[in-house]
Amino acid sequence: MEIAANLWLGLQTAASFVNLFYCLIGVFLGTAIGVLPGLGPVATIAMLLPVTFGLPPVSALIMLAGIYYGAQYGGSTTAILVNLPGESSSVVTALDGYQMARNGHAGKALATAAIGSFFAGTVCTLLIALFSPPLAEVALKFGPADYFSLMVLGLVASIVLAHGSLLHALGMIMFGLLLGLVGTDVSSGVARFSFDLPELADGINFVVVAMGVFGLGEIIGNLEHEEGRSVMLKKVTGLMPTRDDLKRIVGPVLRGTGLGAVLGILPGGGAMLASFSAYALEKKMARPLVPFGKGAIEGVAAPEAANNAGAQTSFIPMLTLGIPSNPVMALMIGAMIIQGIQPGPSVMTEQPALFWGLIVSMWIGNLMLLVLNLPLIGLWVKMISVPYHLLYPAIIVFCAIGVFSLANTPFDVYFMTVFGLLGYIFRKLDAEPAPLLLGFILGPMMEEFLRRALLLSKGSPLVLVTRPISATLLALSAVALIVVLTPALRKKREEAFHEEE
């Protein structure tokens, strides 16, 4: 029972007092910030990332993972209580969740979300434990050419599965890749695009980009249409679902978990796609009597299970291949690099305690969410009630101090400002900036792998198509691109993302 031994090792790591403490802090902070509308998980993690720099790697990653599902969960709470999804993956939860709250079943909706998430989290933690080792083993056979092609596939898939214009997703990726190249070139030592500024010699810190584009950009966007929002209830009662409710949510939770787990592994998928498709699936599966959009408990259970499952399984490609499937994972990879860990298949063999500790802590984190959040609901309601105009200056303060503390230079603060402006402009132009962050993280890696591949093949680019693994991956990318460009499927894809209307 190798799995059991591994999980035991993980439990020993994750259940140490220090790591439990950081897991708790992460889950708590993540939820606290996640409930604030208009601040998604990417901005939340970017904002809190500098706090973890001083911690040992295991604790830092455990805390960051905790922040991630805390933020997810907090987003759902806001979606249910104020009909303002805290982040994109809880958009569909708001549809039925808010209606349930209006009908006086807020407590039940919150409990359903918590139970669905916890179940999905448990299943997916097991999935990660089961599937990561074989996948990492396969990944160890990958040569540089295969890695390059894998990254191409990752980027292509993120375009296919992301919403918005394909052309702009491609453009954003190129833009991100280019930004990632800023700084000293590893093999020649040439400082590229650094304009002789010493601050740029080491490249742009990804926290600066993430906080600018996703933090400041979002804040300006939110200020555009400032509306008063009212929490409709000050007290949430009737937490426990009845036996009948539980019976109704079994199917949706199971289907949501399955769908979410699969979609989470795909690059670019993650939590948002999972929750949208799970909702669509439930609508198709349900008996005609189920009042979707009018407060159906199924409409809360399925997307909540799915988004947590997706959030969880998106760790698989990150942990085994070192490839981010969404911007949050890109941030996690960045955090690993800062901690001195080279992400990739070797993490599991070289740092088993870290690897398994992180996995077990995911389950512990989910348990903490279940146990902590329902009693703390009053606190979250208070947090949501803080008016935005008092909140956002404080958020900017934390962004500014966080970015300053990266290298203790005001330069990064100026750069964050530039990216804030860019982020807002892209938002106005409907160019979704998420692929930019993926490209930004992958840029230097892709260049390195391509360089090594070409060095080994003595300059022949054919190596990308003669190695079977690489050829398969590239063929998959080509198929994905062709498929998504076919008019019929294109329409379908747009429909899938417009489920909310």
Binding site: G54, S165, L167, H168, L170, G171, M174, F175, L177, L178, L181, D185, S187, S188, V190, R192, F193, L216, I219, I220, L223, E224, E226, P387, Y388, H389, L390, Y392, P393, A394, I396, V397, C399, A400, I401, F404, S405, N408, P410, V413, Y414, M416, T417, G420, L421, Y424, F426, K428, L429, D430, A431, E447, L450, R451, L454, L455, S457, K458, G459, S460
Partner: protein, 152 residues
């Protein structure tokens, strides 16, 4: 010929400008040979692709119609960005307290709802105290509470 999709058009322009700029700078970096990719190889390929996407977006903007660009929130954008710039400018010179005051007051004025009343003042005071305690004393971020301007 009229621009039928302004969003596409301007995104295309941004791609073209950045791509062109990166391409122009990357000329000076060695391209290397195929087996030894130079520092200029990857940037040149990427910036060319970015420019290509820019051209496609611009061409498409004349053919496929789209929505107009929503109103630009100039006031919010300028004030928020100015606030962070001021923070960067003041953090060493004026110190954390001065930088926070400037950041909060300037960025808060971006909201129409902001009123400088006792509540806001109290919140501001608490925030400054919190940041001084947690970040400077607790986490040891090297930010002076009073900057070089106050040295005598």
């Amino acid at each position: 010929m009229a621009i039928r999709n302004p969003k596409d058009f301007w995104t295309g322009i941004i791609y073209l400008v950045f791509g062109g700029f990166a391409f122009w700078i990357a000329r000076d970096y060695g391209m290397g040979t195929a087996s030894r990719m130079g520092p200029g190889y990857f940037p040149t390929v990427l910036s060319s692709l970015l420019m290509l996407f820019g051209v496609i977006a611009i061409v498409r903007s004349f053919i496929v119609p789209g929505e107009p660009i929503g109103k630009f929130a100039w006031k919010a954008a300028v004030l928020v960005l100015l606030a962070t710039l001021l923070f960067g400018f003041l953090i060493i010179r004026g110190g954390l307290i001065a930088a926070l005051l400037a950041l909060v007051l300037v960025s808060a004025s971006a909201s129409d709802k902001f009123k400088f009343d006792w509540k806001a003042t109290l919140g501001l005071g608490l925030l400054v105290a919190f940041c001084s305690l947690v970040f400077v004393k607790g986490l040891g971020v090297p930010m002076p509470l009073l900057g070089t301007w106050f040295d005598s």
